[in-house]
């Protein structure tokens, strides 16, 4: 029996027991509202695993996502949370120590406390790898075990992270004694690892996250609330993340991935990780999937990227907490004949998802956009440049025709943020008014421009809209051919500005592309002048690697 298989069976057995204890303590769990426990969270994303390790694409995004959930429905006060992105091992241990001390002080003041540590990154040879540094798993476990919080939860999303539970082995939690410990609350340590000690944890370009974190996050947002009470317990979250991670990776080339855990809790009640009761009561935004609904619902943000998914069985209503915004919900039809798609505006109250009111679309119109493949693209096209000031346009900087090429990296920075490098060349003709009845002096000018832009992208139906900032440079050169004795002139300056674009996907690789830029130009030769100009650009975008 392979160690992965063994871990799976052990995990499943423990899961069953964990479920049992969770159900037995349901009444207590209901009362253990998130707000009754002072929560502390250390969330770390570390894409760099040191020499020889492939840089992880989504470790930081995973961390940001978990941080947002924990400080949202997770009940962690922003001041009690630490988000570390590529911060390294010393910063990690320092933050852990600070939060432990803070939890100790809160405990001394009579508060019940929970310390949650989440890590997304590399692990190898029995240690977390944070850039050039490392933290042995034994040391991390000991640090958590000795942390001064009533409940310590470690969530590790990294390769072979299951080794952290191997020393003691996976064992079932002690049964809750509801009667004798009803007011004491749970105490102890829970460690959850995304993969067994001999397995790799996998990232997915399709969802833009690691499988485990994606499903854990979806569970915390409501997908895991199997009891339907609006509280997602640790047991529910683990069960959901386990089942969905195993299911998602079952057919992957890297092999199936089995999350494992160490559960060493005493006291009464379960650990509640997220509170969706606000959605139930209509006080908070989100979606509600009715009890009769069944299937896999995927919630996409404005950029078409998955923010949550709910594997729903008939029987209980399921709520998913979401920040205010416009979302697309899709559901694959059971016979694979198409998709049901609906756009929903989430505000301050939950929005129901009704299969009967969703649009049926063919599979090739899937609104979900992956993070891989189409990340990089090349745009080429032509455009026009025109200065706002008429006097400037008529003499100094006449309208110009430009042709250009651009390399874009979409959603490369997380949060739907992309960036691109552009280069354009063009020119035109103009004339200098010499005044007093003299013939205007014609000239020909050339222009070379380039820049770097950063933008945020939103999906609106089949169109992707984006808006952002650009820092550009421009070089102008003009000659007065009829008056060859006049010297050629040139000018170089910076042109910061704003950029907005729309992209209409025509095929898998090809999109129609339109863009408008407004830029500022500082001219200082004749006199100091702030000038503005607008550029329109039409072209095609070719997605690389898709």
């Amino acid at each position: 029996m392979s160690s992965a298989r063994r871990a799976f069976l052990l995990g499943a057995a423990a899961l069953a027991l964990l479920h049992g204890t969770a159900r037995a303590a349901e009444a207590v769990a209901r009362s253990a509202a998130v707000s009754e426990v002072r929560r502390f969270a250390l969330v770390a994303g570390e894409p760099d695993g040191g020499p020889g390790a492939v840089r992880l694409r989504y470790a930081e995004r995973d961390a940001r996502r978990m941080h947002a959930i924990l400080t949202g429905v997770g009940g962690v006060r922003p001041g009690d949370a630490r988000l570390l992105l590529s911060a390294g091992a010393p910063a990690f241990m320092k933050a852990l120590g600070e939060l432990s001390e803070a939890a100790g002080r809160a405990g001394a003041a009579g508060e019940r406390t929970l310390l949650l540590v989440y890590y997304s990154g590399h692990a190898r040879d029995g240690a977390l790898r944070l850039g050039q540094g490392s933290i042995p798993l034994d040391a991390l476990r000991e640090a958590l075990a000795s942390a001064r919080a009533d409940v310590r939860v470690g969530l590790l999303d990294s390769c072979r992270s299951g080794a952290i539970v191997r020393a003691k082995g996976v064992r079932p939690a002690p049964s809750f004694d509801v009667k004798t410990a009803s007011d004491a609350g749970p105490r102890g340590l829970v460690l959850v690892a995304s993969s067994a000690a001999d397995e790799d944890s996998q990232e997915s370009d399709a969802i833009g996250a690691s499988y485990f974190t994606h499903h854990l996050a979806s569970g915390l947002l409501g997908g895991a609330d199997a009891s339907g009470d609006g509280l997602v317990t640790l047991a529910e979250a683990y069960a959901y993340a386990y089942a969905r991670t195993v299911g998602s990776t079952a057919s992957s080339a890297a092999g199936v991935q089995h999350p494992v855990f160490l559960y060493d809790l005493g006291g009464a009640g379960d650990v509640v990780l997220s509170d969706l009761t606000g959605v139930s009561a209509g006080r908070a935004g989100g979606i509600v999937i009715p009890a009769a609904a069944e299937g896999l619902y995927v919630v996409l943000d404005g950029s078409g990227r998955a923010v949550a998914e709910v594997a729903k069985a008939q029987g209980t209503e399921r709520r998913v907490a979401l920040p205010a915004g416009r979302y697309t919900v899709k559901k694959r039809l059971p016979d694979e004949s198409g998709l049901l798609v609906a756009s929903l505006d989430v505000g301050g109250a939950p929005v129901p998802v009704d299969d009967g009111r969703m649009d049926r679309v063919p599979l090739d119109r899937d609104p979900q956009k992956g993070f891989g493949g189409a990340r990089y693209s090349v745009v080429t096209g032509v455009g026009l440049q025109r200065f706002f000031d008429r006097a400037t346009r008529d003499g100094l900087f006449p309208p110009a025709a430009l042709g250009g090429v651009e390399v874009a990296a979409r959603d490369d920075l997380g949060h739907g943020l992309g960036w691109g490098l552009d280069l354009a060349i063009g020119g035109g003709k103009g004339q200098v008014d010499l005044g007093d009845g003299a013939e205007p002096l014609p000239f020909t000018f050339d222009e070379l421009g380039g820049g770097v832009a950063i933008w945020k992208e939103w999906g609106v139906g089949p169109v992707d809209l984006s808006a952002g900032l650009r820092f550009g440079v421009t070089w102008l050169h003009r000659t007065f051919e009829p008056a060859a004795e006049l010297p050629a002139q040139q000018f170089f300056t910076v042109t910061p500005g704003l950029v907005g674009a729309a992209r209409w996907r025509l095929t898998r690789s090809l999109s129609a592309f339109g863009r408008v830029r407004t830029s500022w130009l500082f001219y200082d030769v004749d006199q100091n002048r702030s000038l503005g100009f607008v550029e329109g650009f039409l072209g095609v975008e070719y997605a690389l690697g898709e």
Binding site: V432, L476, F522, V525
Partner: protein, 309 residues
């Protein structure tokens, strides 16, 4: 607020990032300066030398001499315009609304001297534009510049304006910027390109360019025809030539002369496009070595824009 305070340095950094000579106003200043083409006298080349040998009636010596004189004057004009043109290759050192200044620069050819060029623009009450040009030099350390080339140009463009430009060789001597070939005196060129005909006058004062006191007036039409008049020494004699020619180079000339003995006279010549004489009226037989010089009929003379007779 802190971010507001940081805008100043940011704007300054952006300003420093801008550079170049991309200036429409510079173009307007430079367009007012006359070019070689504006000041050259356009006397057509006389008939090919091989054709001259075939002239049965003799060659038009007045016409041939006029071409040589005009070429020499164009050389003088080139010298002046070369000084004026020096600013075209350089970016102004100082820009003001109605002034451009280049320099002062060290004069590489004359150590211890420095030069500058200043162009000022004056707008008259009627909106007309005039420019003043000064190419100045001084001995380094001295406070004042001495004008070497001065000019006054009316109109926004020299190609359709009028003006004058004077080169003072004496200034070069006084500044110690002369060399062994530097003449004395001054060269004054005026032009008027505001309409037809376009006029160029060149006067040499004080023996500059070895021509003694000399004046040359030229009128040119866009079709290539023109007229000119000038005084020139011929040996010990002095000649006053008034000529006009058509676009093909055929023309008429009336010449007055005073011999070294004080005797005066005149003759008339007409020639065809090959510079062969078609008519000569020279009762004193001054214009040829083998009398009689007179030949042909006046009816054979070409029509010219300003017939001297």
């Amino acid at each position: 607020m802190r971010w507001v305070n940081s805008l100043g340095p940011a704007a300054a950094a952006l300003a420093l990032a801008a550079c170049g000579n991309y200036s429409t106003e510079d173009v307007r200043f430079l367009a007012a300066l006359p070019t070689r083409g504006d000041l050259h006298v356009h006397v057509p080349a006389s008939g090919a030398s091989s054709a001259l040998a075939a002239c049965d009636t003799g060659e038009a010596t007045v016409w041939q001499g006029a071409k040589a004189v005009s070429d020499g004057l164009d050389g003088g004009v080139d010298f002046i315009v070369g000084l004026v043109d020096s600013v075209r290759r350089l970016e102004p050192s100082e820009r003001a609304e109605d002034m451009r200044r280049w320099g002062p620069f060290d004069d590489d050819r004359h150590p211890g001297r420095e030069i500058q060029v200043v162009i000022t623009r004056v707008t008259g009450p009627d909106g007309g534009v005039a420019h003043r040009f000064a190419f100045e030099a001084r001995v380094k350390g001295q406070p004042d510049f001495t004008p070497v080339v001065t000019g006054a140009f009316e109109g926004p463009s020299a190609s359709v304006g009028k003006g004058s430009i004077e080169l003072s060789f004496e200034a070069l001597w006084s500044l110690g910027m002369n060399d062994s070939s530097t003449p004395h005196g001054a060269l004054l060129a005026t032009y008027d390109r505001t309409g037809e005909p376009r006029r160029v006058s060149i006067a040499i004062v004080g023996g500059a360019l070895g021509l003694g006191s000399f004046s040359y007036d030229f009128e040119g039409w866009v079709d290539g025809s023109g007229s000119f008049s000038y005084r020139i020494p011929k040996g010990l004699d002095k000649l006053y030539i008034s000529s006009s020619f058509d676009s093909a180079g055929a023309g008429r000339a009336a010449v007055s002369y005073v011999t070294w003995l004080g005797l005066g006279g005149s003759f008339e010549q007409c020639w065809d496009a090959a510079a062969c004489l078609v008519y000569v009226n020279d009762p004193q037989n001054y214009s040829c070595s083998t009398p009689p010089c007179s030949l042909g009929e006046v009816a054979s003379c070409p029509a010219v824009p300003s017939p001297p007779f």
